[in-house]
């Protein structure tokens, strides 16, 4: 049985990534000094420029304030897509990065399933009493589309996108047709938001 320190040491990126070269470090040093220098010059420009910058900042703050009010609505409505994907680039495929992993994946141009293909979404119990998943049932057309798409895509990835971001890209092991389960260990409020967001668009 390993201790926490041993587990962390085994997974420590500094232990298995190559050390940075002195040249890389010098380049980074120069970049930081130059950026700071440019920033210094920027703040020492004439007052008129400072005033216009201040006005711009006010405008940005105001727009952010407005955005923060509307962001609630954006989050509430979830744009859901399932797309076939490939591990390697090819003409017609769009490169994307899987959130939280940095791993690249290449998306087919057309989604297989979107919000309007979801006939029903519901809360389901998660792994623990306080967590929930979301079950999705496709309508008949989408189910048939999913089955056709996944049958010819076995062993290759399928990307799950929420609001345009690839949040997961599992490999298709068997054909998928009528339903899917999103297991994310959501809190109830988040799962409810996804349910209402997916079917509400």
């Amino acid at each position: 049985m390993k201790t926490l320190a041993e587990i962390l040491r085994d997974a420590d990126p500094l232990a298995y990534e190559p050390p940075r070269s002195p040249q890389e470090r010098r380049a980074r040093r120069q970049m930081i000094l130059d950026a700071a220098h440019a920033s210094d010059h920027a703040v020492r420009r004439p007052l008129a420029l400072a005033a216009s910058v201040a006005l711009a900042i006010v405008a940005i703050v105001l727009s952010l304030f407005q955005w923060s009010r509307t962001a609630v609505d954006v989050i509430a409505a979830v744009r859901f897509e399932v797309r076939l994907a490939e591990e390697d680039p090819a003409p017609g495929l769009r490169e994307a990065v899987i959130a939280g992993t940095g791993r690249k994946i290449y998306l087919h141009p057309e989604p297989v399933v979107v919000n309007s293909d979801i006939a029903h979404a519901a809360l389901v119990p998660g792994d623990s009493a306080s967590t929930f998943g979301v079950s999705l049932t496709f309508n008949a057309d989408a189910g048939a589309r999913m089955r056709r798409a996944t049958q010819s895509h076995l062993g290759r990835p399928m990307a799950i996108l929420i609001d345009g971001e690839v949040v997961s890209a599992p490999v298709v092991r068997s054909p998928v047709s009528t339903s899917a389960l999103l297991t994310g260990d959501y809190r109830r409020a988040d799962a409810e938001r996804i349910v209402s967001g997916i079917v509400g668009r």
Binding site: L8, E17, R28, A36, S39, V171, T183, R187, R193
Partner: protein, 184 residues
């Protein structure tokens, strides 16, 4: 006496003075900051960005950076952890609303070697910790610092550090047991 070159440089002086002070801060602390940043971030590029942003914040507030190597280090480490915390919060909002979904009828990629999967599981578990708590775990478990030293670096009490460590061990045990078995 000029024990620390950074101390002797006027912080509110000319552009050259400011550049010299920033260069001195970089030379003295960049390696230490990168090591912490790399263990807080999910990639080397993210760690570089984190370190760069820390020094750019320092450049904007050179007057606020205290003199003395240990105090400089503590100031920079706190800024770095705070930047990471802000990123983590933004990502957490996205995670909660967008979620790290998986489709049960499709199994995830199992072609990777088990060691790589275990590493990913550990870092996924660490990603779930608040960056300050994660920093405390790293400083304690990987850098071997004791609670008073960590507290001094992060500007919190040793008791708070011990509490965070206790909570971290509990959270990591729960997360890692679920992902890579009964290892703790």
């Amino acid at each position: 006496m000029r024990a620390n070159p950074a101390v002797a440089v006027a912080v509110d002086g000319t552009l050259d003075d400011r550049r010299e002070r920033l260069a001195a801060l970089f030379d003295a602390h960049e390696d230490r900051l990168y090591r912490l940043a790399r263990r807080l971030a999910s990639s080397a590029d993210d760690a570089d960005d984190l370190v760069q942003e820390t020094f750019l914040r320092a450049a904007k507030s050179l007057r606020s950076v205290p003199a003395g190597s240990a105090r400089e280090e503590a100031w920079l480490v706190r800024v770095l952890v705070n930047i990471r915390r802000d990123e983590w919060r933004r990502a957490a909002v996205r995670r909660r609303s967008l979620a790290l979904v998986d489709v049960a009828t499709i199994t995830d990629d199992s072609n990777l070697e088990s060691a790589l999967i275990a590493k990913r599981a550990v870092w996924a578990a660490l990603d779930g910790l608040h960056p300050r708590r994660r920093a405390i775990v790293i400083l304690s478990e990987l850098e071997g610092m004791n609670a008073p030293a960590i507290g001094a670096l992060l500007g919190i009490s040793a008791m708070t550090v011990r509490w965070h460590l206790s909570m971290s061990r509990r959270d990591l045990k729960r997360l890692l047991e679920r992902q890579i078995g009964d290892t703790l």
